[in-house]
């Protein structure tokens, strides 16, 4: 039975003695960290389409079935990758800057990390925090920042969830084709929409996803900021 994707040190029995290893421990070719890093590298090189268990095994010079001694499914690997990526999200501003600036830098960083990994979003969005320790650590840092800023306790989680939802949705936008709003031959039947698209284009912003993200994020920050005690 392979270790599931939970805490790395697994007490699991009540006494806290250092785990006694039996069997053949030392020269293992594979472990969860190695798998995670190889997966991340493979995804970087081949994308999520090229990310298969067989391909992952190949980069590790191992048979595909060997992976299943350390991981219980492909989804499990994705969870490991997700949690690893979350450690790249910058929460440092919550220690050093006022609340609104901290939220801003956290949100932009969070969106940027996962806009390159949108296939993970359906996984993260419904993942129990117990299965992702680094993600939990991020939540702790953010919660602490909200708390310190005088946010009412009972609304902290809801506010974070709302921000996160906006961030995940916005991560998809980054990957959308530039002409996603070109109404083409149906322009005559959609005058208001077509006009609005044209007016946005007039502004000549290189990156429309950033404009929408900033607009929404500032509204959320302003709205939530008003809740602080």
């Amino acid at each position: 039975m392979p270790a599931s994707t939970s805490a790395p040190a697994d007490p699991h029995r009540h006494d806290a003695k250092p785990r006694r290893r039996v069997g053949r421990p030392a020269a293992a070719v594979l472990d969860q960290d190695g798998i995670t890093l190889a997966a991340l590298q493979l995804i970087g090189k081949s994308g999520y389409d090229g990310f298969t268990m067989a391909a992952l095994a190949r980069t590790l010079n191992v048979a595909p079935s060997a992976l299943y001694n350390h991981v219980s499914s492909k989804r499990d690997v994705l969870v490991l990758v997700q949690d690893h990526l979350t450690s790249f999200v910058d929460v440092s501003a919550f220690d050093a800057e006022p609340w609104d600036r901290a939220v801003r830098s956290w949100a932009w960083s969070y969106r940027d990390v996962f806009s390159k990994h949108t296939p993970l979003i359906p996984v993260i969005a419904v993942l129990p925090v117990t299965d992702a320790p680094k993600t939990l650590a991020m939540y702790e840092a953010v919660s602490a920042g909200f708390s310190r800023a005088g946010f009412p306790q009972e609304r902290i989680i809801s506010a974070i969830v709302a921000l996160e939802s906006f961030i995940f949705g916005s991560a998809y936008d980054v990957t959308a084709p530039a002409d996603i709003f070109d109404s083409g031959s149906m322009a005559e039947s959609t005058p208001n929409f077509t006009a609005a698209v044209a007016r946005l284009a007039d502004q000549g912003h290189e990156n429309q996803a950033d404009v929408a993200f900033e607009l929404g994020l500032e509204a959320l920050i302003a709205g939530f900021g008003a809740l602080r005690g």
Copy 2:
């Protein structure tokens, strides 16, 4: 070459004569509408895991390969389903109610429709509007409402995109397990987060996803409402 998922009536040549049908038109067993409805029904009964091209063909009493005369890929079927579902999103309030109330009812309805179809979100989020006429119609209704409410033209699209991003992200939350924030054995190392989760639970809301959605939506409505001229 099967018709791609674009406008149902395909001019494609400059003269507007009614398309001349040749060959064997009348008694076709299959068409895009029939495929769409059968797909929606199958998804309702078997979920997205049970939704395979083979299963879809079976419900239509047809060989799997026959589908490819009307649809170019499984993704294509998903696009058809997505566009069909979008016609269930309620935009009627934009004709009858003040802007903020209209946005509210549209957003809740939009979230509710797709919270039952989250696997479509990665498809919708990056789909050119040309490939989804009913979705385009929704955008037109919403754009018209924003315009009528005195919203600055050049910001209408960005505001809609931001709202949509929040809606998509929030649709995932609806499907998340209830104990998603239970930090389990790591509670001691995450005191702020754990306390905030407990305080939210104290409130005893049956549905935490709704609370977060409302909080975020109201912030966005308030923030965007201030932009109106």
